[in-house]
């Protein structure tokens, strides 16, 4: 009874803490917007160029699928901070000194993650009911057809996301930016795997049953249906609404419902696995995600003890020499060097080795490969260097120290941004040289826009959010969708932008300037209210 109460208390406190945060409210608003866009036909599932009438079954299935995809990707980043917060606030150390078990803690946090994400799903489910009447294509409300996809498709996926987010937080290697980036690829894999394999039991998001059911109906109602199904954003393409296609909802079988509930079980198993690797806030075991080498740590401790004893003896005689400074010193070069050092501190030798490798490859590879995937990958490699920009002060609690220094706003922020730009220029120089030699002015302009827009966006997102996650998520998405899948407008290297390369480059430069200006405005407001 006591253990159950502890788990419930952990879950409740964490849920309340998170749902009272502004970021939760924003995520909820965005989820609602997505639901609205789905129900009003801005985001829709189309079968070739057809869709069915907006019945309860159609809207429920559609909105549930949309929110499942959204929550499983973005929701992961929303909830992947519950253990991190307990570490940062040191509440974890208080909890660690109580009889609370690892399993109890992990399960409480899992329940909180699940509750936070389920709240989003719940709000969307209620909104979906309202949407049927707003859209007004069918006035007959079938609550089971409308809500069952939320219960049996969305909730198991949400549980899985909640558990994986917790597991990532418990594993030191996945706790930071690497985990944030890795999740994007894991998420992509879970979307694609069931479609390749055609196996229902390998489908955590529940897409296969929906595809099969709706595909079979489309064959019945759509003339010449060729078997395609896609999530589409309305860009003005022609869609035929088949009024006779009145989707009555997913015909749930015991077997399929059981498969969906199995994912709930998998989620619980992952939460238990998270408990197994949980360090119980033992700072001696893990320091900032890295295990200290015992011999080195012992030596450092011994040095410190000896040193402190020696210094204590001598310390009493130390006096400070008055500091004589020139009337006005800016030392911007020093600050820039310091910001650059800060940006790359903690990176291991292999990071530099890969960066140099990518640089050499840019010089050696054919121009199209060099300016496209290679420079994109080189910049993607810098994601953790940039994602700390503007967020470092909040993350490590140095805001009060920095914000009480003179001329901090133009100097430190500018130095931080220039350090970020220096990194993008350094790692992408190979491609720039190739473009210069080939006298490709438009290509070079696109490269410059890319080199500026990435650190500028990082700075704005970092200053705004105080965390590295938004930029890590945004760059991963832009890299995969834009640069690797060559989506015009989203490709920050400019290689996929074809004839519009110059226009996109100018737009990129404007966005970069806007981001830097935005970061300055936000930081100026923070300076007076830290």
């Amino acid at each position: 009874m006591s253990a159950t109460r502890s788990v419930a208390a952990i879950a409740r406190a964490d849920f309340l803490e998170r749902t009272r945060r502004y970021s939760f409210f924003l995520a909820l608003l965005f989820a609602m917007f997505l639901g609205y866009a789905t129900a009003t036909g801005k985001v829709f599932i189309q079968f070739d160029e057809y869709r069915g009438l907006c019945t309860s079954g159609w809207i429920g299935t559609l909105v549930a699928l949309t929110i499942t995809c959204f929550v499983s990707l973005v929701g992961f980043y929303v909830v992947k901070n519950c253990v991190e917060r307990d570490r940062a606030t040191r509440v974890g150390q208080i909890l660690a000194a109580t009889p609370l078990s690892r399993t109890g803690y992990a399960f409480g946090k899992f329940l909180s993650n699940f509750a936070v994400l389920s709240t989003m799903v719940g709000v969307l489910a209620i909104a979906a009911v309202a949407m049927q009447f707003i859209v007004g294509e069918d006035s007959r409300l079938d609550l089971w057809a409308m809500l069952s996809p939320f219960l049996l498709i969305a909730l198991p996926t949400v549980a899985l996301t909640a558990a994986v987010a917790l597991f990532f937080e418990m594993v030191p290697l996945l706790r930071g930016g690497l985990g944030n980036v890795a999740w994007f690829f894991v998420w992509n894999f879970t979307l694609a795997a069931p479609i390749w394999s055609k196996r229902g039991w390998l489908d955590p998001m529940g897409l296969i049953a929906v595809m099969n059911t709706l595909g079979a109906e489309a064959k019945k109602y759509a003339p010449g249906y060729r078997g395609g199904m896609s999530f589409t954003i309305d860009t003005g393409q022609h869609i035929t609404v088949l009024r006779e296609w009145r989707f009555a909802g997913i015909p749930w079988t015991w077997e399929y419902a059981g498969l969906r509930l199995m994912w709930m079980g998998v989620a619980c198993a992952i939460a238990l696995a998270a408990a197994l690797v949980f360090d119980r806030f033992d700072t001696a075991r893990v320091a900032d995600g890295k295990k200290e080498k015992p011999r080195k740590a012992r030596a450092a401790a011994r040095d410190a003890e000896v040193g402190e004893a020696r210094a204590a003896a001598a310390g009493a005689t130390v006096h400070l020499t008055p500091l004589v400074l020139p009337a006005r010193v800016h030392a911007f070069g020093r600050l820039l060097a310091a910001e650059l050092r800060l940006a790359v501190f903690g990176l291991r030798w292999w990071w530099y080795a890969v960066a140099v490798g990518l640089l050499i490859a840019q010089i050696a590879a054919p121009l199209e490969v060099s300016r496209g995937p290679l420079v994109a990958s080189a910049w993607m490699w810098c994601v953790f260097v940039w994602s700390g920009m503007g967020a470092r002060e909040s993350r490590w609690g140095t805001r009060a120290l920095l914000f009480s220094c003179a001329n901090i706003l133009p100097r430190q922020l500018l130095a931080c941004w220039m350090a970020g730009v220096a990194v993008s220029v350094l790692v992408g120089t190979g491609a720039a040289m190739r473009l210069l030699i080939a006298a490709d002015t438009a290509g070079l302009l696109a490269w410059i826009a890319g080199a500026l827009v990435l650190p500028s966006t990082a700075l704005l997102l970092g200053v705004l959010s105080g965390t590295s996650k938004p930029f890590e998520g945004a760059l991963t998405l832009a890299w995969y969708v834009g640069a690797i899948n060559r989506t015009p407008g989203l490709d920050f290297t400019g290689a996929a932008n074809g004839a519009h390369r110059t226009t996109y480059a100018i737009a990129g430069l404007v966005i970069a300037a806007g981001c830097v200006a935005g970061a300055c405005v936000v930081r100026k407001r923070q300076l007076g209210s830290a």
Binding site: D303, G307, A311, A331
Partner: protein, 339 residues
């Protein structure tokens, strides 16, 4: 035109002088011009400072105080508004009303005028765990605009001063709480500040380090203004040249330590009671401390008159004065509420 009268007057507070000159005009009243010379001395004047946080919590209510070089010990219970006052004076929070003026400059309007000469140690602060103490201080020196050579010398001195010279190359992530606090003290002194604001600086320091820091503050206070906020009355007693007591966002008392002690002169008594009688005594009087001895409990009582015939008058301490000021405020508030 020749002035008909010239006055010269010594300013009592700051040691500077005020000059006055009068030109007589036939058709108007005499024109008087005053020129104030502060003797190059720095001043921090706080006028009617108030701060109300979102949600209506009033942290400061019309605080007034004028500071000159020396150490101001800022005392007050939890939530009294000490940290809010310090954050406003450190230019990182804006007041809702009133102003703080550093050498004739409103720091809310022109914060950089103060930041150039400010050293600030916040109550809660963090460090970059991958940097070592030397790198971290060098980074902050660059942010503060200190040239490289001067920064190197200063950092070496400061690390020796705070006893971290031999741990200077260890990553800060492995430092203990007390060591991080000492890094915080070092960063506050980086730019040889004219105004040093330290919020709970001795939290986490061992007794030896606490004494060392108090001595350092005394040494530093000669030519600068130091504002020291703490709960530890003995720290203030050791170094403060002035004391301010905040309660519920209001300035309850401000003056020299002797002035505060005078307020409770003749009001401190030692009463010896049996252990069982202590709760009754506590209910009736303000007790600043107790000590169990073989003859009973020796209670230090703050009261206008002797609690009983056997009570012995004692020399007041600053802790007695502090508790008496807070008790006065509580009683005043209770009387106000009852009325």
């Amino acid at each position: 035109m020749v002035a008909s009268k010239i006055w010269r007057r010594r300013n009592g507070e700051n040691g500077g002088e005020t000059f006055g000159a009068e030109w007589p005009y036939l058709w108007t009243a005499p024109v008087v011009v005053w020129i104030r010379d502060d003797g190059g001395m720095m001043r921090l004047v706080v006028e009617g400072l108030s701060k109300t946080y979102r949600g209506g919590v009033q942290a400061l209510r019309g605080v007034n105080v004028a500071l000159k070089p020396g150490v101001l010990g800022l005392l007050g219970p939890n939530g009294a508004g000490k940290s809010t006052l310090m954050r406003i004076l450190a230019t990182i929070t804006q007041p809702t009303a009133g102003r703080a003026v550093w050498n004739d400059t409103d720091i809310a309007k022109n914060p950089d005028a103060l930041r150039d000469v400010l050293g600030y140690l916040p109550q809660d602060f963090g460090v970059y765990p991958n940097l070592n103490a030397m790198e971290f201080l060098d980074y902050l020196a660059a942010v503060k605009g200190i040239p490289a050579a001067a920064a190197r010398r200063r950092i070496a001195e400061l690390l020796a001063l705070v006893n971290l010279a031999d741990a200077a190359k260890r990553p800060l992530g492995g430092y203990s709480g007390g060591m991080k606090q000492r890094v915080g003290i070092a960063q506050a002194l980086l730019n040889d500040p004219k105004l040093l604001i330290v919020d709970e600086p001795t939290a986490g320091l061992d007794p030896e380090e606490r004494v060392r820091f108090r001595n350092l503050l005394s040494e530093l206070s000669g030519e600068r203004i130091v504002i020291l906020s703490t709960h530890i009355v003995s720290d203030v007693e050791a170094v403060a040249t002035e004391i301010a007591i905040l309660g519920h966002g209001q300035m309850l008392a401000h003056g020299a330590p002797e002035d505060l002690l005078t307020r409770v002169n003749g009001k401190i008594w030692e009463v010896v009671v049996a252990s069982g009688d202590l709760p009754a005594l506590r209910a009736k009087y303000l007790i600043s401390s107790t000590a169990h001895r073989s003859d009973g409990v020796h209670a230090r009582v703050v009261a206008d008159a002797a609690p009983n015939g056997a009570a012995r008058a004692l020399e007041p301490s600053l802790e007695d004065a502090y508790l008496a000021v807070l008790a006065e405020q509580r009683n005043g508030a209770a009387a106000g509420a009852a009325a």
